[in-house]
């Protein structure tokens, strides 16, 4: 099944990053990043803590600003122009490590907020869409509860549904399962695998190597703010080229 899904990659470019650099004050956090993501591609980004994975994908929807180079998302270049930023953000969904649901709104309201206020969808239609996606992540019965009443795994699935309600063309995931208990990780990964099979363009920071092997077209390994190695998952795991990659893989797969 995963093989079939991998066929859907098209030639259309979804994200194009060229010669991108970013600093936090004096600290050079991203160094000369070049990467192209085709529409329908599923990319897993991994690497040691502090290597800049989060910073990289947060640059793609401009939660972080880059200082040099070019980022083009869906044909729109990210600059200081607020219009472009808003356009990109409404096309790109993001799922965070700590869910970041809005605690003062019900699950349904969490899911309809952005469609109603950003996309100007009528309330009724937005609620129907929300119920559709909540059904898809298998928690329609929780729609009228508040986030605080749900388990971590359920909250993360709501966060995914909330992003999907904006009908994004690209989804970014920043360690979506690393704040979850083991038995909840599976329910979230299942949701993500389902999404991958439907051909969503996905960039996913994760250390779930099983997930990478099952759905990724490409694994990117980062260290010290640079892309050190990228390859198909099979090659990447069985035949890593760089020493750093080998060390990293032995550390996370070794036990």
């Amino acid at each position: 099944m995963a093989e079939a899904a991998k066929m859907q990659v098209s030639d259309e470019v979804a994200i194009q990053i060229t010669g991108m650099n970013k600093w936090y004050g004096q600290f050079h956090v991203l160094r000369d990043i070049n990467m192209t993501v085709q529409r329908g591609e599923r990319i897993v980004i991994c690497g040691p803590s502090g290597s800049g994975k989060s910073t990289l994908i947060r640059c793609i929807n401009r939660l972080e600003e880059h200082q040099q180079g070019q980022i083009i998302v869906d044909g729109t270049e990210l600059t200081n122009d607020l219009k472009n930023i808003d356009k990109v953000r409404s096309e790109v969904g993001m799922v965070f490590q700590h869910f970041n649901l809005f605690p003062h709104l019900t699950i349904l309201e969490n899911c309809t907020l952005a469609p109603i206020w950003v996309r100007k969808v009528p309330k009724k239609e937005a609620e129907e869409t929300a119920m559709h996606f909540l059904t898809k992540v298998k928690i329609p019965e929780q729609a009228h509860k508040y986030p605080g009443q749900l388990s971590g795994g359920q909250q993360q699935r709501v966060a995914i549904a909330r992003s999907l309600c904006m009908k994004p063309r690209i989804m970014l995931f920043d360690e979506p399962t690393s704040a979850l208990d083991p038995e909840m990780i599976k329910e979230v990964l299942d949701t993500m695998i389902q999404l991958a099979e439907e051909g969503m363009t996905m960039l996913c920071v994760t250390h779930e190597m099983g997930f990478a092997q099952a759905v990724a077209n490409r694994v990117i390994f980062m260290d010290q703010g640079q892309i050190v190695e990228q390859n198909e998952p099979k090659e990447f795991f069985n035949n890593p080229k760089s020493d750093r990659t080998k060390l990293f893989l032995s550390q996370i797969l070794g036990h």
Partner: protein
């Protein structure tokens, strides 16, 4: 050596030992948990008993009906014997009107503040209990009953009486069908309240409010063409032009065509609780939005906006309210053109609002800082722009966290209204009480007027505090 163990029968649940439950346990844990605690409990009990023992006869011998303080004392002596003391509340009979409306507010027009006060609750209800049909119905029904009684007592003109009751009944009916629509009355209330309290031509407030209509109209027409922010600016300019040049002639023309007016009552005639409530309610209403803007401004990325907000907040907070009131009363006069007959009460209102807004801004800043960064990021990532993110995601949470702080500020503001005595306005605590104590009949009265005024303030402040508790409980969504 570890030994295996298997339970063969389950233990039944048993009631806790006697000493561990109920009142006894509570007493033992909270009042008599040790020597120090027990001593303190005994001392406190003795103290309370002492105070109660000494003040009780004074309240018990209260006199409600007398023409002067001397008469009061004679009545107490006659009924309780030589040397007995008793409270004398009889001063309230001649003076209650001054306490409530101020001693200069025309007696024949007292129905107007009474009506405004009743309608105030009708206007507050849709805000305090949004969409809750049952609470709205109760409040509106109470307001209707209150108005029937008080307007009758204040001998309101029959036309006003009938219109007022019909109006409230109409609101009551609306609450049954479309409770959300009641907010329109809330929006119209400030203009109505202004007209009722100050009077004059009815067209003055109507034409002034039409200025906001002009603002909105220009904004709506212009925003598709020139964008949101410039359109808002254009609307604002249009509204100012309206107020400066169109307002007065149109209001005059309408007044001469269809004359409807109430007797004009200048603000220096206002006094007593009327004054406190006008200042308190206006201050509360306007300081909250201003405080929110200041708090957001202080968090802003734009250095100039940020600096202006910081300077404003720190200056206002760093100066005692009394100083600000002096500024309002005397210093502002030097800067304003002499012909600008800028009402003293209006100046006081503005400065009291600024004062509360500065405090609110700091209360809110704490809450904004306490919100996790993830909330801002999630709102951004969903494509909400700055104002929508603030309004829909950040502020509802920040306001909820800061309810206790906000309500404290409001209570403080309401009590601080007594400070306006410093600029010669007749607030109840010092202003009116002073008049009572100068009255030849009541010379020498001391505790009673203060207790009376204190009790009324307590009722208002305690209600606010209870409402804040209710709101906190209602908004609690983090059911853990």
């Amino acid at each position: 050596m570890a030994q295996g163990f298997t339970r063969t029968e389950m233990l039944p649940a048993m009631p806790p030992p006697v000493s561990e439950s109920g009142t006894l346990k509570w007493l033992r844990e909270n009042l008599f948990s040790g020597w120090l605690n027990s001593t303190l409990t005994a001392a406190a009990t003795l103290f309370i008993a002492f105070v109660a023992w000494n003040s009780f006869p004074w309240f018990w011998h209260s006199v409600w009906n007398a023409g002067s303080l001397n008469e009061c004392r004679q009545i107490v002596t006659a009924s309780a014997g030589e040397g007995a003391t008793g409270a004398c509340w009889a001063f309230l009979r001649p003076w209650w009107g001054a306490f409530i409306f101020g001693h200069q507010y025309p007696v024949d027009e007292r129905w107007r503040p009474v009506l405004a006060f009743g309608l105030l609750f009708a206007a507050l209800a849709p805000v305090l209990f949004a969409g809750q049909k049952r609470n709205l119905t109760i409040i509106l029904a109470v307001v209707a009953a209150f108005l029937v009684l008080t307007l009758y007592l204040a001998s309101a003109p029959s036309l006003a009486f009938a219109l007022a009751i019909l109006g409230v009944l109409a609101l009551l009916a609306l609450a049954q069908v479309q409770p959300g629509k009641l907010l329109w009355f809330t929006l119209a209330f400030p203009a109505l309240c202004f007209w009722l309290l100050w009077g004059g031509s009815i067209w003055t407030p109507i034409v002034a409010v039409a200025g906001f209509g002009v603002l909105y109209l220009v904004f709506r027409l212009a925003s598709p063409v020139i964008g949101l922010a410039p359109a808002a600016g254009a609307g604002f300019v249009a509204a100012v032009l309206w107020w400066m040049f169109v307002d007065a002639p149109v209001a005059d023309a309408l007044q001469s065509a269809i004359p409807i007016q109430l007797l004009w009552i200048a603000s220096d005639k206002f006094g007593g609780f009327l004054l406190s409530i006008v200042i308190g309610v206006t201050g509360i209403t306007f300081s909250l939005p201003l405080g929110i803007l200041l708090a957001l401004g202080r968090q802003s990325d734009m250095p100039i906006v940020k600096m202006l907000c910081v300077i404003f907040i720190e200056t206002i907070r760093g100066v005692p309210l009394i100083t600000l009131l002096f500024v309002a009363a005397f210093v502002l006069g030097f800067f304003l053109p002499p012909q600008a007959n800028f009402d003293l009460l209006l100046r006081v209102l503005i400065l009291v609002t600024f004062f509360a807004a500065a405090y609110l801004a700091e209360v809110l800043r704490g809450a904004l800082a306490a919100l996790p960064r993830g909330q801002y990021e999630a709102a951004d990532a969903l494509g909400l722009d700055y104002w929508r993110a603030q309004r829909l995601v950040i502020l509802p949470q920040a306001l909820k966290i800061s309810i206790p702080g906000i309500v404290s500020t409001f209570i403080g503001l309401f009590k601080d209204t007594t400070l306006v005595v410093i600029v010669a306005l007749y607030e109840p605590l010092k202003g009116i009480t002073h008049l009572v104590r100068q009255d030849i009949n009541w010379k020498g009265i001391y505790w009673e007027p203060y207790i009376f005024v204190g009790a009324i303030f307590f009722i208002f402040c305690f209600s606010m505090s209870r409402y804040s508790k209710y709101l906190e409980d209602k908004l609690k969504t983090d059911h853990r």
